[in-house]
Amino acid sequence: MRRFLRPGHDPVRERLKRDLFQFNKTVEHGFPHQPSALGYSPFLRLMAIGTRSGAIKLYGAPGVEFMGLHEENNTVMQIHFIPDQCQLVTLLDDNSLHLWSLKQHSGASELREECRFTLKGPPGSPPSATQITAVLPHSSREVLYLGTESGNIFVVELPSFRVLEDKTITSEAVLQRVPDDYSNRRSCDFVEALREHPKNPDQILIGYSRDLIVLWDLQNNKATHHFLGSQQLENLYWQRDGSKFISCHYDGSYAQWPVSSDNRQPEPLENVVPYGPFPCKAISKIYWQTTKNGLPYIIFQGGMPRASYGDRHSISVVHGSQQTAFDFTSRVIDFFIIFSSEPTAECDDPSAMVVLAEEELVVIDLETAGWPAIHPPYLASLHCSAITCSHHVSNIPLKLWERIISAGSKQNIHYSNMPWPIDGGTNVAPDPPQRDLLLTGHEDGTVRFWDASGVCLHLLYKLSTVKVFLTDADPNENMNTVGEDEWPPLRKVGTFDPYSDDPRLGIQKIYLCKYSGYLAVAGTAGQVLVMELNDEDAEHVVDHAEADLLQDQEGYRWKGHEKLKTRDGPVRFEAGFQPFVLVQCQPPAVVTSLALHSEWKLVAFGTSHGFGLFDHQQKRLVFVKCTLHPSDQLALEGPLSRVKSLKKSLRQSFRRIRRSRVSSRKRRGGSGNASEVQEANAKFDQEALQEMELAPVQRKIEARSAEDSFTGFVRTLYFADTFLRDSSRHCPSLWAGTNGGTVYAFCLRVPPAERRMDEPVRAEQAKEIQLMHRAPVVSILVLDGRGTPLPEPLEVAHDLSKSPDMQGSHQLLVVSEEQLKVFTLPKVSSKLKLKLTALEGCRVRKVTVANFGSCKTDDYSENDLAVLTNLGDIQIISLPFLKLQIRYPCIRKEDVSGIASCVFTKYGQGFYLISPSEFERFSLSTKWLVEPRCVVDMPEVTSNNHVHHKSSVENAAGKS
């Protein structure tokens, strides 16, 4: 090892490396996995989301975001902003409270945990005595009121978290004032809700879980009013003027209560079950918002008829005669209303409703008729259908960028035009250096185009390949229509839809040429589509070809899925990328590699059986090559999907459950010795289990042989204009690498442009290299005479790259999972190699050429290889000498899906999935760094008191 490291210790190089490389995880894109709490500060205009893993994320104006992580990794239960402060308190499920603050530090705000606190009861008291159920940050900003399961309310001082014991409001003290018949019936319930009076900070409303509500005077330490209900309480809400409050209940009802000085024990003004008369689910949260026109907005979560709609996740908005029950695609975690925070305003005048569901964020515009949704600039649900692959394209030309945006805008017409209402903080990050696109392929056959230039990953355009095919399920177009007399008036909102009609539609490979606008997309059932960008709607026939990859191989039977059926006749496509050629591989195995050459107008595709080349100009199959080893039965028989989605495994487990049910029924109905069979089965299972436990985990040490399975699996395809046959003439070539360590090189003859349609493209196999270590070939690359990787097609034509050096001799770089090797061209002789696996025991998973610029000088940049290994490390390896420059741990090695999802950019950044719905963005470069940098200032407060009231009410409403 010592000798291995020695060459790296050149002080000049070491200094340069510091100027070129650094590793940072910069920002998380997408929707937080398993959100558990929501908070909002109308004062800061910031939203906070807590997750089950203890993360807390703050969002404001696009680009303004902060992230914090609790050390404990416990679920965040509640989030409350401290009124008029850059501070918030979180409650975790271990009953600990944490105070966070936003502080400015060298020109940008940072979110930091200040301190933590756990409420301790007197010795010997049960844990429920101090189990916090409700939190109220008082508008004085000095104290927190903590309601507990015991019914006691503790008061702690901020920011010290000192318990003010003399101020504790015990349930006994509260019950003293309550009529005897009540206090005898129920003693100590837990505190369900705590709400400060909107006008009088000395009064707080305490709601106990059964049916007692008390208005408590903090000054005199006594209850002034009490309200006796008949139903279990869920939540409370003050009306703006403090004359009435509203309570909602477990039985799906809500009630309005008057607060006046003359009646100390009033009856409810009204008691409504909005979706009665049949039993309804609980209303867990309610808002009563006043408007200038007098008709209030009543907004409540839940309350659906138990029997028929009990499984819906709904929030209902009632405004006069208008009523809509928004039906969400997943469980509602919490929601809040954005309303006038003008302290002098008499009415709430709600403008938007923000709903955090388990899988997505939905914002509804309440000002525009029809209450349309607002397109969020961040927190996109990446996983609205499971992500199956991703592809990154850097530095998109402005023209293409605008055309994609324009195609996307035509898809977004049903969204509201309201500007994003959560707009706190200021983004002070420099503008992104270039326009980057991240393309994600999904299980439902769609490709989504994301603006990945900056901190906000924003959906630009969605492309569906489904229209080309005939599928069982017809697209359900009347999803959003509501019948006139439909009750309850449900309306589906949100885009999360993890159920794919046909898994064969799944997208597996994407290749976009940013110069020509050609896009190639390949899928699970061997389908390859070539598309072209069209700014208008169009109706046309998609040319269809079949590529029989088995060719002359005899006697094989494909046992996997059938190929997709295509639609006959012309198909109508909306503006955007429109397919014009479809190639279907036979057998219809998943496409494992794809390459597109937009200048030569060729597309190459590979599966586990072989690869083919298609001329999409002449719409003609040029050739196919079968890579199968005759003994490789496995590849022949079944489908192979490397990315197995959660959904799929779920479906399988359901199937398994169903099957076991069926078989058990059968068993019961069978002969009399069924129990014996069962017993024997159980015994067998147990023995198998025991054997598994006893046998240690062991690994077989065996050299790879040519007979291993899936050796023919085509892992990579690469087009290059290089010296394949002789050193005087270069020619177009196609390279393919397989799982068995074989590299095929084909010499291509592409007719000149003027005769492009007249003469056929010809291909001839020129070389076949068998790596003796037989490890899968991950990538193939040709380096020009200067040792620089060849430019992308059309890159030189667009003056965006120096033309490659065709004078010096070219070199071939073959990256297998185990080694990196450089060979000379055209005569193949081995030049140098780096044996990664033999030295470190790691294997190459992903590799890309990345350009690294120096942060010190503008005129120096170099190309290196960025390599992700199966251990989750990222190594940077120099070109063309294959020297290890630096290594960074990036992904946990157990996180197989994270490693599989990783995609590098051309400028030393990358993305990988940290959950089904979130990409982590990282940077290896000192120069190209996209990370949030933002400032949150304390807004100026004209009249303190008024703002206090509102914000505290708002904050306290954070309980679902």
Partner: protein, 346 residues
């Protein structure tokens, strides 16, 4: 013939120079010879490269006894552990070859004529409790045939005895290469793979390393059964009983290059088929001025690949990348075989 001459202990020079000096001193400039010396334990050990030459000079006390044999009639059996202290004085073997004629042993062939299957290597630089085994894999006719597992072993540390995780051989496949050598056994702890320590690496990493090196696998183990070790100062030990097919010391002075050539053949035989012609092995690119850096790179890989990098347990005399001798004692005559028999039963 005896010669006596002096060398500067601090600057012994290179083996080639020394070899030239010997040929000069004995006035046999064109005769290939085998060079050996007796170490402090009384073993006759070969001198055929810089490292063991330096080791030999450093053991001189102050006299260093060196034996030279003409290569054609060399008695390879003379080398190895215990050779100098056996009942039969090795000197008589060496000096009076007629002694041998009375009891002619069967010379099968020069070791170069055989293809090695496995060998114990670096015996002189490893602790006695360790064994470095090299498995040569040719073709696919015989599987390597072993499994490894996680386990824990007890180490002596500054804080006392500590349990540390380790990698162990868990199973040998009957008829596999590993089993047929007899050099590896179930529960042997794997310490290094091709010169790279496995401590701190996961079972999967070690598996990948072994598979990546499967054409020339060198594993250093701590055998579970420590009784068959090569105990160099013991009277009764011998390692020949363990190795069924082992190679004798390669006697040519340029053992290093020999190795590398062999290495290249076994490791670099990527195959190219040009224009659907006959498969050929891919040659190495000739060095050009431009690829000077790449050359050093190649060298570097080879040396690490060979697994002769110093391990921490190695004798400090043999530090930096010592490509040292590879040898194994094989006693051709019956008597010592009987001896071995008794040792095995110990």
């Amino acid at each position: 013939e005896f010669r006596r001459f002096s060398l500067e202990r601090s600057k012994p020079g290179k083996f080639e120079e020394f070899y030239g000096l010997l040929q000069h001193v004995h006035k046999i400039p064109n005769v290939d010879v085998l060079v050996g010396y007796t170490d402090i334990h009384g073993d006759l050990l070969p001198i055929n490269n810089d490292d063991n030459y330096h080791k030999a000079v450093s053991t001189a006390n102050p006299l260093l006894r060196i034996f030279i044999q003409r290569k054609e009639d060399a008695d390879y059996s003379a080398f190895g552990t215990d050779t100098m202290t056996r009942k039969k004085n090795v000197l008589s073997n060496v000096l009076r070859p007629d002694n041998h004629k009375k009891k002619p042993h069967i010379v099968i062939s020069m070791p170069q004529d055989f293809r090695p299957v496995s060998s114990i290597i670096d015996v002189d630089i490893l602790p006695e409790t360790h064994r470095r085994v090299r498995l040569y894999k040719y073709g696919t006719d015989k599987p390597l045939g072993f499994y490894i597992r996680d386990g824990s072993s007890v180490r002596v540390t500054p804080h006392g005895l500590e349990k540390v995780p380790g990698i162990f051989i868990s199973r040998l496949v009957p008829g596999g290469l590993a089993q047929s050598t007899g050099l590896l056994a179930v529960n042997d702890e794997v310490l290094e793979v091709n010169g790279i320590e496995v401590s701190g690496k996961s079972l999967d990493q070690v598996t990948d390393m072994m598979i990546a090196n499967s054409r020339n696998l060198i594993i250093t183990v701590r055998p579970a059964n420590q009784r068959n070790n090569v105990v160099r100062n013991s009277r009764t030990s011998g390692s020949s009983g363990q190795s069924t097919e082992s190679s004798l010391p390669s006697s040519t002075p340029n053992i290093l290059t020999n190795f590398l050539q062999g290495e290249e053949e076994s490791d670099e035989e990527d195959i190219i088929i040009e224009d659907s012609g006959e498969p050929q092995q891919i040659p190495k690119a000739a060095a050009t001025s431009e690829s000077l850096e790449s050359l050093t790179q190649i060298e570097l890989h080879e040396s690490t690949q060979n697994g002769f990098l110093p391990s921490t347990e190695m004798n400090s005399d043999h530090s930096a990348g010592s490509v040292s001798m590879e040898y194994e004692v094989q006693d051709p005559d019956h008597k010592s075989l009987e001896e071995d028999g008794t040792i095995i039963t110990l």
